[in-house]
């Protein structure tokens, strides 16, 4: 019996008159890589923003591990185990790679008024930050200022910061965006490794990547769920081909 880790019920978000996401009801199973596909402007990022808590929904509900988290702010959800990476690189450019991950690793400390002991003495935080840095492949760049990284490396750091918080559910918004072929494969390998003991919700335009990792795929168009199924079902779906994949082929 597969267990649902995250569920949305009629989740909607309007921006003025625009329905960016309308009445999306999805169930994400624990341990599964669930990809979300859709043309530009389909509402994928908006959906992820609502799942992470960055954006409040205008309607509907979000349940994480059985509990209603719709009204919870982003930092509380992060502490509950929902981690996310951003489509637009969102790092702390002045800090080193390790310090970037450190900030995530530190979120696992109990309490918040830790004002006395120097941060570097927290060995467990250091270990978490280093582990995350190693996972995202930036071990050698630990002391490098994030602003000086290449674009691909920044994308890796984006993932590393998320991993440092040790989430159970990973929300990945186009992790491969703008990456070179070789970097892409390295990140795809990382995602496959992470998939062994995490749940992944993955937005990605790279079809090869999606079909090589995902076990379930949802296709969104104009803010609505068009179809959800296995990669095979999606590949052969007429509706999807008409609405999206056809468009891709034509382009």
């Amino acid at each position: 019996m597969p267990e649902t880790i995250l569920e949305t019920r009629d989740l909607s978000r309007r921006f003025g008159g625009l329905r960016a996401v309308s009445a999306v009801s999805l169930a994400f199973e624990r341990g599964v890589v669930h990809a979300i596909l859709g043309p530009n402007g389909a509402g994928k990022t908006t959906l992820i923003n609502m799942l992470s808590g960055d954006l409040p929904p205008t309607d509907g509900k979000i349940l994480f591990e059985g509990a209603d988290v719709t009204g919870l702010p982003v930092h509380v959800r992060a502490r509950r185990g929902i981690g996310r990476s951003y489509q637009k690189t969102n790092i702390l450019p002045e800090l080193t790679c390790l310090e970037n991950c450190w900030l995530g690793a530190q979120a696992r400390l109990p309490g918040w008024l830790n004002m006395v002991r120097p941060a570097r003495r927290y060995r467990d935080v250091q270990a978490r930050a280093e582990r995350a840095l190693g996972l995202c492949g930036l071990e050698a760049r630990a002391g490098t200022q994030a602003a000086t990284l290449s674009h691909g490396e920044m994308r890796q750091l984006e993932i590393g910061m998320m991993l440092a918080t040790e989430p159970r559910l990973l929300l990945l918004d186009e992790p491969l965006a703008g990456m070179g072929v070789e970097e892409s494969w390295r990140v795809i390998d990382l995602l496959k490794t992470l998939a062994r003991d995490h749940t992944l919700i993955l937005i990605e335009h790279d079809m090869d990547a999606v079909f090589s990792i995902a076990q379930r795929i949802t296709v969104m168009v104009n803010g609505c769920e068009l179809e959800t199924g296995t990669p095979e079902q999606i590949r052969t779906s007429v509706a999807v081909r008409d609405a999206y994949l056809g468009e891709e082929l034509a382009a």
Binding site: E94, Q106, W112, A119
Partner: protein
């Protein structure tokens, strides 16, 4: 930010020793001036915790120190309390509560709105002390006595003694420096830095940034309360001018002048401003013009403040850079600014959120 040269602490230590021995040899007038610098340095350091380290530009900082000073004055003049620990505790409590109230409202905003709201709330505190006649009106009040620490009838510390006051204030400056160094190195300090650089991402990583910002406000307020206590004990006088926006702006200028985001900077800024004011006021009636030009020059040529050239690796390279900036200054003035460093950075906003 993370790589500091050892030059700065060394210089700071040397200056400290000089300052520590000064009242034993110095002229009485300059000892008084030095005490003023020390107190202003403490106040500026506390503001720098907000502005330079957490990126929270507050324009109401004098409200914290000023309110503390008023409560000290009232306790001494109206209740006859001169016990130093009682007065100090009252100062800290007053400033802490004021900071909690102002901070609680302010941390919901950021950027220009934070500046506006701290300015407005600071002015409310100003008018409270200005308009309520109990506090002594627009002209301010003189202290009838000064705080004294006595145990079993033996006077240990009498703040009306110039040298004693100087050393007490200096000890408070060092204490504040140590306290803030510790706090800034702690996980708490790391989050504050995260708030300054990228608040949205810091929150998304699992930190309740609102809470951290409020705690920073209260901590800064408590230290400002200490400064307010020292200031009223130093001058024996408090007036509404001590907590108006003009005073808040002056403290902000001290921070910017010395160098935001460093603990030494605010002290150097206080030193520079107090000395410059004293020197310029003797020179001409238009001394404010001189001070203003100096501030503009520093902001233009030393964007990292007076400590800027020292803080960079080794100092020499920093000085070279400062000279290069001087060279480029005409171009800056007329808008032919070469691509600034910040433009090379990726977007650091809250991304898609």
């Amino acid at each position: 930010m993370s790589h500091r040269s050892p030059l700065l602490p060394l210089l700071f230590a040397l200056v400290c020793i000089g300052i520590a021995l000064y009242p034993l040899v110095g002229d009485a007038f300059y000892v008084r001036l030095a005490a003023k610098i020390v107190v202003l340095g403490i106040l500026a350091m506390s503001l720098d915790l907000l502005v330079g380290f957490a990126g929270l530009v507050s324009m109401g900082h004098a409200a914290f120190s000023g309110a503390a000073a008023y409560v000290v004055a009232a306790l001494i003049n109206k209740a006859g309390v001169t016990d130093l620990p009682t007065l100090l505790a009252a100062s800290l409590a007053t400033a802490g509560v004021t900071a909690l109230a102002i901070g609680w409202i302010s941390v919901r905003t950021s950027g220009i709105y934070l500046i506006m709201i701290t300015l407005a709330l600071g002015q409310m505190v100003f008018f409270f002390f200005h308009d309520v006649s109990f506090w002594g009106g627009a002209d301010g009040v003189n202290l009838d006595a000064k705080p004294v620490l006595a145990i079993a009838g033996i006077e240990l510390i009498d703040l009306s003694d110039r040298t004693v006051f100087y050393y007490v204030a200096l000890a408070c400056l060092v204490g504040t420096f140590v306290l803030l160094s510790v706090v800034l190195q702690s996980p708490f300090g790391q989050v504050l830095r995260g708030v300054r650089i990228n608040e949205g991402r810091t929150r998304a990583l699992g930190h309740d940034v609102q809470r951290y910002k409020l705690a920073a406000f209260v901590l800064a307020g408590l230290i400002a309360g200490l400064a307010g206590f020292l200031e009223v004990a130093r001058s024996g006088f408090v007036s509404p001018a001590h907590l108006g926006w003009h005073e808040s702006a002056t403290v902000l200028i001290v921070v910017i002048l010395g160098g935001m985001g460093t603990l030494v900077g605010p002290v150097i800024g206080a030193f520079a401003l107090v000395f410059l004011e004293d020197w310029a006021a003797e020179l001409t009636d238009h001394w404010k013009l001189i001070v203003g030009l100096f501030v503009i020059a520093v902001v233009l040529f030393l964007p990292n403040g007076l400590v800027g050239p020292l803080a960079r690796s080794g100092g020499r390279e920093g000085l070279g850079k400062a000279l290069a900036r001087l060279w480029n200054a005409p171009a800056r003035l007329f808008g032919r600014t070469p691509a600034k460093r910040r433009d090379d950075l990726p977007q650091e906003s809250a991304g898609d959120a």
